[in-house]
């Protein structure tokens, strides 16, 4: 037992002390926080959008209704002619000129949006939408509907998704947040198992090619060496994961604080500027800018993050042990990394299938039979279960899946150790799968 501890210690320290580990551990949270920041930034930008001032040159006598400024576009009706406006465009405060010629409102033609730069798709879509709305109002008014009746037709619709928890209580949930958390956890799990599983394999190959293995196994049992390596590397993974969580959380908190604070200031100043401009801002424009961020944070809070993290760690350890034992067996059977290809496929496939199905089928139907079976079979359960988890998984399923995974890794560790003890002493031979099966039956 003492020897296993020594091996774990060496495997752990030799990796944690590496420059690449330190850099990866520090850099990744920055990248994650950066992405998080970008998402928030764009969701705010998406709501706010850019603001364009448009001069409307209206020569259409049948259009008595006027375009109402929106939060993205400030329409101002001007008296100047189109030619004059075009000539003065650079010196005026307007970004674009909207030209409404004389046309039959039943088939509007010849409308132009002129600017010193090409109008983007979103702007031209908005303008055409506004004109459609204008013409609709015009037509409805013509048929004798009053403004109050028109206002009464407008309805705002918002959907709150709720789910009935196991306790029968209604809980706030957000399909969006669950999908994001589930998908992120699934991707993370896949990367983690693959990354650290391959590290185990590399470690075994390194010991074999450098021939230290011969010296090692005259002191320790092959099983001790294999388990020491697997556990040592698992602890490296865990260390990295926990550091990532802690660092990402603190960086994100700081970033969000700084960002949201700054944004609030920016928003007020923008409002002030618009007011100075004299552009009319309708009260409807002031929809709360932070609503997507807020609602995302609200639904994040509705998820039990502690449970998710703990279950994630359990399935990471379980899934990692399950696969890394197989990787150790592969490493023991080859002389160099280039020879691992033929064995990698059978081990990679279930992981890849689990990954692909989890991110497609499971996120679409987290309670369906495919999701259920994927989260039970130990080859795929580490990924499928963490993807399902944010949607809510019955406790008995979680417990059963954990139990199967534990039995699964005991099985693969046992199987791998039998191949490993023979494989590590075989040099210079190309090993076939058939031969590995034969090793399995060797007596010690």
């Amino acid at each position: 037992m003492n020897k296993i501890l020594l091996i774990i210690q060496r495997e752990y320290l030799s990796r944690v002390k590496k420059k690449s580990f330190i850099i990866m551990t520090l850099l990744t949270p920055l990248i994650i926080a950066g992405f998080y920041g970008l998402i928030i930034y764009f969701s705010i930008q998406g709501v706010k959008g850019s603001f364009n001032k448009v001069a409307v040159v209206n020569q259409n006598t049948s259009l008595t209704e006027k375009l109402v400024p929106t939060k993205n576009i400030g329409y101002t009706y001007v008296k100047e002619s189109l030619e004059q406006m075009k000539a003065d465009l650079k010196t005026t405060k307007y970004d674009y000129i909207l030209y409404l010629p004389e046309f039959d409102i039943k088939s509007p033609k010849g409308i132009q949006l002129i600017g010193s730069k090409q109008a983007g798709l979103s702007l031209s879509n908005r303008v055409s939408g506004d004109i459609k709305e204008l013409i609709r109002t015009q037509k409805l008014k013509a048929s004798g509907i009053s403004q109050t009746e028109l206002d009464g037709l407008k309805t705002e619709v918002e959907i709150d998704t709720k789910k009935i928890g196991e306790t029968g209580k209604e809980e706030d949930s957000s399909a969006g947040a669950s999908t994001i958390i589930g998908t992120a956890a699934g991707i993370f799990m896949f990367m983690f198992i693959l990354l650290y599983g391959i590290q185990v394999m590399r470690g075994v190959i390194e010991e074999k090619t450098s021939r230290i293995i011969e010296i090692m196994i005259s002191s320790v049992k092959p099983f001790q060496l294999m388990m020491g390596k697997i556990i040592g590397i698992a602890l490296v993974g865990l260390t990295q994961f926990i550091l990532w969580i802690v660092l990402t959380a603190s960086i994100s908190t700081l970033a969000v604080k700084a960002f949201v604070g700054k944004d609030a200031i920016a928003q007020t100043s923008a409002v002030a500027m618009k007011a100075k401009d004299g552009t009319a801002i309708s009260p409807v424009v002031n929809t709360p800018v932070d609503s997507p961020v807020l609602s995302m944070q609200k639904s994040l809070a509705s998820l039990d993050l502690t449970k998710i993290i703990l279950v994630f760690i359990f399935f990471f350890i379980g899934g990692y042990l399950f696969y890394s034992a197989l990787y150790a067996a592969i490493g023991s059977a080859v002389d160099s990394e280039t020879e691992t290809q033929q064995f990698m496929m059978p081990v990679m496939m279930p992981l890849l299938v689990g990954y692909a199905l989890s991110l497609s089928v499971v996120t679409n139907d987290p309670y369906g039979p495919i999701a259920f079976w994927l989260s039970m079979i130990p080859f795929t359960s580490p990924i499928a279960m963490v993807v399902r988890l944010p949607y809510g998984v019955p406790d008995w399923q979680l417990a059963l899946s954990m139990l199967i995974l534990v039995l699964g890794f005991i099985g693969t560790v046992w199987l791998a150790s039998r191949i490993y003890r023979v494989g590590i002493l075989m040099y210079g031979k190309k090993t076939s799968l058939k031969e590995m099966i034969k090793w399995f039956t060797y007596k010690n």
Partner: protein, 300 residues
């Protein structure tokens, strides 16, 4: 010290050891000889408990081989290596602790050995910065550090330059004087004659010869002599005394390898020749282990 009884080890399609028995006496240097693939490494792996025999038993100091013996055995494999990225000192410390030494004791002994073998400033070097010979010194230290009673060295001198080979040889002899028993596995016969007290020759999974080196060489004496003389003499005339195996002429001297007939002896050869030539030399050719090795392997 070590008694090996009727060991059989069967791999999938070949028998690596076929009923091999031998004894290694305490305080002796034992040579385990044999061509490549004869089964030497398989036998060593059984002694070091890397694998187990299919049948037969191994006794270490009278006890059946068990886990406690691992710390009493030091093994330097032929295929040996070190962790490339690890510091030398750390590495030897790690290996010593795996053999059951405490950190403090191991550190003390590593310092002693590093000092002794002129590697004191290697502690924080990495393996990739050392030459092959330097690495072997490190491996040698790691093998003997825990003061094993039995030290097994597989081809210990391969890769050493003559100076370092000599240093290591002297260390081996010193450890031997202090009471350590050695098993040498090698096919370099000069070192066998120089160092080994006893040998066993393994060929095609079977032991075909064993015993003290002196006795074996004695046993394989076959009345062959080098004879060197000046002058003219028809060797044909002494056909009934000896058989000529080989002749060469250098600067008027004649050098012949002769095999004296069993009923005769060197005195009779000399008295027959003295009247005709002036004799410079008559040496007995005692077969080297190399000769015996080749002869035995070819025979079987």
């Amino acid at each position: 010290m070590l008694i090996i009884k009727n060991i059989i080890k069967q791999y999938a399609n070949h028998r690596a050891l076929d009923d091999v028995s031998l004894q290694v006496e305490k305080g002796k240097i034992f040579g385990l000889l044999g061509p490549n693939g004869a089964g030497k490494t398989s036998l060593i792996r059984i002694i070091t408990q890397i694998t187990g025999p299919d049948s037969g038993e191994v006794l270490f100091n009278g006890e059946r081989l068990n886990v406690d013996h691992i710390s009493k055995i030091g093994y330097l494999p032929e295929e040996r290596g070190l962790y490339k990225k690890m510091e030398i000192g750390e590495q030897v410390l790690y290996l010593a602790k795996l053999k059951g030494l405490s950190t403090a004791e191991a550190t003390k002994r590593i310092r002693y050995w590093f000092e002794k073998l002129e590697m004191a400033d290697w502690w924080s070097k990495k393996v990739e910065d050392l030459s092959k010979g330097m690495q072997q010194k490190v491996q040698f230290v790691a093998t003997v550090l825990h003061k094993p009673e039995l030290i097994i060295l597989d081809e210990p001198f391969s890769g050493f330059d003559p100076v370092n080979a000599d240093i290591i040889k002297n260390e081996i002899l010193e450890l031997n004087r202090e009471g350590a028993t050695f098993i040498f596995s090698t096919h370099r016969m000069e070192s066998v004659e120089e160092l080994c007290d006893n040998i066993a020759l393994i060929h095609r999974s079977k032991k075909i010869l064993d015993g003290p080196v002196k006795d074996i060489r004695e046993q394989y004496r076959n009345n062959t002599y080098w004879l060197e003389y000046e002058g003219d003499y028809q060797l044909e005339n002494s056909k009934e005394l000896f058989e000529v195996l080989h002749t060469e002429h250098i600067d008027g001297k004649t050098k012949v390898k002769i095999k004296i007939r069993e009923t005769q002896n060197p005195n009779q050869v000399l008295s027959a020749l003295i009247p005709h030539v002036s004799i410079n030399r008559l040496d007995e050719v005692i077969p080297t282990m190399n000769d015996i090795f080749i002869q035995k392997v070819k025979q079987s």
